[in-house]
Symmetry: C2
Subunit: 484 residues, 2 copies
Amino acid sequence: MPPAAPTATSGEPAGAALEALRSVLDTAGFIDGTGPEAERYLHDWTGDYRGTGLAVLRPKSVEEVQALVRICAEHRVPIVPQGGNTGLVAGTIADGPPSVVVVSLERLNRIRGIDAVNFTLRADAGAVLQTLKDAAESEDMLFPLALGAQGSCQIGGNVATNAGGINVLRYGMTRDLVLGLEAVLPDGSLWQGMTGLRKDNRGYDLKQLLIGSEGTLGIVTGVELKLFPRPANVETAYLGLGSFADAMALFGMARRVCSDLLTAFEVIGSECIAFATLSNAQTRVPLAGEWPVHVLMELGCSSAIDGRALLEALLGEAFAASLLGDGTIAQSRAQARAFWAIREDLVEGQAKRGRHIRTDLSVRLSDVAPMIENARGYVLSNWPGWEPIAYGHAGDGNIHFNVMPPTGLSAGEVRERGTELLDGLYGIVHGFSGSFSAEHGVGRSRRAVYWKWLTPEQQKAAAAIKAAFDPLGIMNPGCLIPDR
Amino acid sequence: MPPAAPTATSGEPAGAALEALRSVLDTAGFIDGTGPEAERYLHDWTGDYRGTGLAVLRPKSVEEVQALVRICAEHRVPIVPQGGNTGLVAGTIADGPPSVVVVSLERLNRIRGIDAVNFTLRADAGAVLQTLKDAAESEDMLFPLALGAQGSCQIGGNVATNAGGINVLRYGMTRDLVLGLEAVLPDGSLWQGMTGLRKDNRGYDLKQLLIGSEGTLGIVTGVELKLFPRPANVETAYLGLGSFADAMALFGMARRVCSDLLTAFEVIGSECIAFATLSNAQTRVPLAGEWPVHVLMELGCSSAIDGRALLEALLGEAFAASLLGDGTIAQSRAQARAFWAIREDLVEGQAKRGRHIRTDLSVRLSDVAPMIENARGYVLSNWPGWEPIAYGHAGDGNIHFNVMPPTGLSAGEVRERGTELLDGLYGIVHGFSGSFSAEHGVGRSRRAVYWKWLTPEQQKAAAAIKAAFDPLGIMNPGCLIPDR
């Protein structure tokens, strides 16, 4: 029997707790959970999940967060911490009884400072990612985290979910970008780790536990982030290849020739282009001839390096090695944007097509091509009429292998049969020792599959960490760890 | 009162336990703790620390490690895991009663495989770092971890202590190089995480806890490591500057101009040169004139990038900005080696001078110059006759600020007064929110200062993690966490 995490038991009437919570906040800080104002905090942006909550609390300071958490601990009121609420796995949407409060960090959103010599930026957890990126750019530096939701997701949420995105290849996941962290622990105490140090070997690195813990161990309130020199010189290429295996070989060659200056290496199965076209009828693939696999590659460097020459050297070598069918290097920023639009439009097009099966798989780079082949074979052999497509951040081994249902199925049928299909795909990726969640996390929607595939040792370790930090089980219960 | 970690209580006679342990191993696997063969496992290589042990156990397989740990748990025999025993903080040298066993990983030392497409190498924990570096190089790849002890330290120890070294600047600490980890937990169960994935957002990242935990949470038995393209083109420069502040400004400029292709950025206070000369009378500084601060800089890139031109562009810009006094770019590998010899010899020279005060401090890069100035002022004002020197990995904010005692003091006097001086230096670095241990760890020798400067929240968190993983307190007791 898997060990279970502790769960809050709400024995008391909530009234006293809510009054105490309200007393900490100003008028705009407390939103009743039953009113229309609470709506946008209680369902996720895809519309797939609808949660419950007694109230939405919007603290303006770290001290207010601490006071709220202390009251919740005293009254055993479970807390759902919430950033920009842009997640895809219901990590901020409670699915239990309506006894929780949502703590939104959106008003705790100051930039605390930029240190140009240390190449760091300090900010409150509620600061919006795009705001931080703009602040870094205004000092001629780069904060490289880049993802679709960057206009509304918050850095605290990015840290709590260890967000990924387009530039992981060069700059790493959010985990790799965090030098310092400040968090309110489940008893209301403050864990102070805003050190900004690049090297610090003093004992257990607790911040590593909080990063990616999806709000189950505490509430991130502040971060100190690595900045980088802004690449003055960006080159983009769109390439046609014969296979995913060739694409992975090209990636290895690109790492070597370009000295790891690549900022993106995206693969696109040619079957995805129809979805780009569905979203944008003007879609034009910049390739002569038909190629089963496309690669969108970007390289960023200082103005002292000839990025164009570097990319040309790579493509020359790749042609000579018969890895490359055709390719174009963007001659302008506008052309580069048009290349990227294909990648973005194919995602839009899938949404336009309607409900479908989405995955976020990762495997070793050496298993990318076999995994896609295997998964394709499984769908084509066992699911007549269902249409697989594959694309993603191949440089990270992260593939979105999605499946479109046959037209004519009801939403209910898609959901029901989709669960079964997903189980099959997860089994395949598990067979490659891969992950069913490369970057989206576990949340509540993937909790069952997460727990099912942990070994007993891993279940025990996860439950022990949860119990050590949150013995009352009040921090985002139901997320990640199954309720008792 | 600080919460204490659990400690093993050795109530039973050790005889039964030792017999059971012996039965798991072959003849060469069991070394009696009282014999001469055990000596090299029971004192550290500096000769500063001498420990105790009932026996040294040398398992040859992961299963043997598990069996040994199970027996130790059953009989409450504390374990000191040991790699190459090259640490500097007595992390593998027990200082308690002689009831412990040392588990040496040295016979568990196979390379399990290299995956050229995934750019990874899998190895047993006992594999020697240099062996892994050579294996990577034989496939035209680089495993970048580089430190003085690389000929004898083991990768499991590097992981357990989150080793740093020369190339952290470009490639990160050991933590950043580990993609997969396998460890035997304190109950003998196996934590299996050899996934080799670059992106994996499934729940708590337990491997991050084990990395840097100094053997207090489990015994690392296997690792999967990131490899990199081998820089075909390496350029080295030796520079003279007016101040540490100028050196840090130059570093920022170098990051921008050279697109983060720097592999090393070492500062050397000119007062260190006397120690290089003490070690090697042939030492010649390749600078015209006297400069208070020297910088040894290295850049690595592919053959498709003109590294020499890049370095020249940087130096031109730095001269124009009056950051640079004088400088030489190595014209040959031999000349580059001569530059590096100065950096290595100045360490040797200190040892030759005799017992002295060594530190391993880190601060924000923006605090490097003020911290050195502050620490120098403290020594010169308060410690007449004591001689401060400063050098280190400035690109990481990691400075070795060492102090030579006046000649004529006895070893006992140096030790006693040195402890007081060290307290003063640690206070200064603490005032800068810095770390007294950038890369060497805590072990037993820095346990008191570690614990003293943790906040109550951090003490509680560290003790909770220890108790959750090692409730019997048998795993490297006395290391990192104070005994009860």
